[in-house]
């Protein structure tokens, strides 16, 4: 964005960039009109249900010494605050934020950096943790507010969601500006570590984020509620404008990661024997290289692995803990797994001409996807389990949850990668494995799956052993059956030709 000499020029330039962002959005929306409507209605339905139903559920029995319920007294403020962390984490992991148009397409259009920045704000919800966080926030807030205050409480949540998302996105662009500047990735890491340390010290000193209870209380008085909403609206606009400055500066600098990863020499490793084991090892090696050398996946995976650890300072309920492997795994799946064949890019055509059984290629690819899911979801889960002092029975259910979520996510990856292949270049940290509209659909479905499975698993902790075993085996069998069916479909040359053709187009 040219920082114009006069405020009139500045406003004109801002209006033009807003118009550009709208045009690009309309262009991308045209790729999935029906899908968008379906996704939009589904999301709206789930959101309305989550706003209404919890309000009519009895308040929780466990009351804190301070007088409030466990929800509004301890968990809710953290939940409100963590939306900023989740958005900022997603933005940092994706190089400032997702791009409305892939880099190689964007070069053909005169899209300004502010339009690009606004696009990244719009795409912030392409994040399973963000969606689940918003739903949890809505459900727990209306539950705490009660049936008489559903509408004001929901509007307050909406105001906060907008404000926190814009703030988180601004933080993400600030971090990206530091990374692309002279301080580089090390400077960025030091700043993030410094902020995390300050936060930890503040928490240790007894500081608590946001008086969520006070905000909810404001819904009792029309004037206080309106004032709260007005403040949130003002803050949203202020953060939106403030975020443009680091974004514009960051976008003017080249991304170091792409250039560095593409220029570095990789030490050659010995060639495996041409036996079936050796072939599998070679296929896995190439697939692992494709995953871990891809900027978008590396940065996203590291942040997803680290971010839940931040929750160790907060109070994490069992229901949330049991969902962590699913939420983090779903986040990892959205980095590349929903379009797993795109890792080969246009090389898929060449790979398809090599003499190897299709099943061997499928096994190697989805073994690597499973490795990534576990590598990303286990660290946070283990740290949170230790920090919350989880008992033996909970640990067993948590281990089962890791298995069930991994199988479910793997089955989703295998099926969706066959059904919806897209040609994408994942070399940019801002790239997504599918167009934004499709990603919204994927994120929504994964959020629902993880939430439902998480709720089932969370109540299992009090169930008899045989029931725990039965439910876990049932869920695993369902997922494994779907993976087997996807493997059979991949063996069909017509299906493979369609996937290879679309991925390489």
């Amino acid at each position: 964005m040219p920082i114009a000499a006069s405020s009139t020029e500045f406003l004109t330039s801002l209006r033009e960039e807003f118009a550009d962002a709208r045009t690009v959005l309309a262009f991308r929306r045209a790729w999935g009109g029906r899908r968008l409507r379906w996704v939009g209605w589904s999301l709206a339905l789930v959101t309305v249900l989550l706003a209404l139903l919890p309000a009519y559920v009895d308040p929780p029995a466990a009351h804190l010494p301070g007088g409030g319920t466990r929800i509004d007294g301890a968990v809710l403020p953290w939940l409100w605050f963590s939306l900023v962390l989740v958005t900022a984490g997603g933005a940092i992991g994706s190089g400032g934020g997702r791009a409305l148009l892939p880099k190689e397409q964007a070069v053909a259009f005169p899209i300004g950096p502010v339009a690009d920045y606004l696009g990244s704000v719009l795409l912030a919800p392409l994040n399973v943790a963000w969606l689940v966080q918003v739903w949890l926030l809505l459900a727990l807030t209306t539950h705490t507010a009660g049936p008489g205050r559903i509408v004001p409480a929901s509007l307050l949540v909406l105001g906060w969601v907008l404000c926190a998302t814009v703030l988180g996105q601004a933080c993400g662009w600030l971090a990206e500006w530091i990374r692309r500047g002279p301080a580089g990735p090390l400077g960025q890491r030091l700043v993030i570590a410094g902020v995390a340390l300050l936060g930890a010290l503040a928490v240790a000193a007894g500081a608590r984020p946001l008086g969520a209870a006070a905000l909810i209380e404001s819904t009792r008085s029309g004037a206080a509620w309106l004032a709260g909403l007005a403040v949130l609206a003002l803050l949203t606009v202020a953060f939106l404008v403030a975020g443009a400055f680091p974004a514009v500066r960051a976008l003017a600098l080249p991304s170091r990661d792409e250039a560095r990863l593409q220029a570095v020499d990789r030490a050659p490793r010995p060639t495996p024997e041409p036996t079936s084991v050796g072939i599998h090892r070679m296929l896995v090696r190439v697939d692992r290289a494709s995953v871990w050398r891809t900027v978008a996946v590396r940065r996203g995976a590291v942040l997803l692995a680290v971010l839940p650890v931040a929750g160790a300072w907060a109070e994490v309920s069992w229901t949330v803990l049991v969902m962590v492997p699913g939420l983090v795994g779903a986040g990892a799946l959205l980095l590349f797994g929903v379009n797993a064949w795109s890792l080969d890019g246009r090389g898929l055509l060449w790979r398809e001409s090599l003499p190897v059984a299709p099943a061997a290629v499928f096994d190697a690819r989805f073994r690597v996807v499973a490795e990534v899911l576990l590598a990303v979801s286990l660290p946070g889960t283990v740290v949170l389990a230790i920090s919350t002092g989880t008992g033996v029975r909970e640990l067993v259910v948590l281990a089962a949850a890791c298995l069930v979520f991994t199988a479910q996510l793997l089955s989703a990856a295998a099926r969706w990668s066959l059904r919806h292949p897209y040609p994408v270049d994942l070399s940019s940290a801002r790239a997504t494995p599918a167009p934004p509209i499709v990603m919204v659909g994927h994120a929504a479905r994964l959020s629902l799956t993880v939430s439902c499975t998480g709720l089932v698993l969370s109540v299992l902790v009090a169930a008899p052993d045989w029931l725990v075993g039965f439910v876990v085996v049932l869920l695993l069998t369902l997922s494994m059956g779907r993976i087997r069916r996807a493997r059979r479909r991949w063996s069909d040359p017509v299906v493979r030709a369609r996937v290879a053709g679309r991925t390489a187009s």
Binding site: D265, A289, S290, L343, R346, G347, A497
Partner: protein, 236 residues
């Protein structure tokens, strides 16, 4: 088979309503290089993809060195080398990893490394052998695709647009590679828009139009200005 390394009879390929190849008959003899020419959308790349086992035929019979592509695709893939028209490289893998993957899957005996290094030298890629291909220029990528196709010294070499964006040295290396393949008895099928290079590299040229063959010429008859006029008259 009648001695043809590639035999296509009545090949049609449809993608939904679009008929990419419509009843193609083609024989490519061993020890010869055959060029496939035609306008965009004439069906050249689709024919190559069918021969490489990447796209199944809708109808028709396709045999490569006597093996039915539809029935025994993996056996066919052991006998062919394929350079696709677009990209053809795994972005985050290095040229050496591509070569290792191809050598392992083709079950090449130990010693393939020497040939691989020679090919990398010849195509001026030795210095970039261990860098991910995502950072390659278009021409570098094309050169690597060509040498990958020839690594296993296949009986049938399928080169789709190998000269696209390649500098003159790279084009020379590709023509030399085609000559060497023909000398060792391989059948080479070359698809390109560059008529001059096709004339230089091939013995015969088949012109396709809207998925159908319209003419087969000895390559030299399409050389020079006269050849250009003859070729253009076949396109419309």
């Amino acid at each position: 088979m009648d001695g043809a390394a590639v035999q296509i009879r009545g090949l049609t390929v449809r993608f939904g309503e679009v008929e990419a190849v419509a009843g193609l008959d083609l024989d490519v003899p061993a020890g010869r290089a055959t060029g496939l020419l035609g306008r965009n959308g004439a069906g050249k790349s689709t024919t190559m993809r069918v021969l490489a086992g990447v796209v199944p035929a809708t109808t028709g019979c396709v045999h490569v060195v006597g093996i039915d592509v539809a029935r025994r695709p993996v056996d066919v893939k052991r006998r062919i080398g394929y350079c696709p028209d677009v990209g053809g490289l795994v972005p985050q893998a290095t040229p050496w990893e591509h070569l290792q993957l191809a050598a392992t899957l083709h079950r090449l005996p130990d010693g393939w490394q020497r040939r691989a290094r020679e090919l990398l030298e010849r195509f001026d890629l030795a210095d970039a052998a261990h860098r991910p291909t995502a950072g390659f220029s278009h021409g570098m990528g094309r050169r690597l695709s060509v040498l990958l196709a020839d690594l296993a010294e296949p009986e049938v070499l399928l080169l789709d647009e190998p000269f696209d964006g390649v500098d003159p040295n790279g084009a020379d290396a590709t023509v030399d590679l085609i000559d060497a393949a023909v000398r060792r008895g391989a059948a080479v099928l070359l698809s390109t828009h560059l008529r001059d290079l096709a004339v230089r590299a091939c013995d015969a040229i088949l012109v396709l139009r809207r998925g159908e063959p319209v003419a087969t010429h000895a390559a030299l008859t399409l050389a020079g200005e006269e050849g250009d006029r003859a070729y253009r008259s076949l396109l419309d």
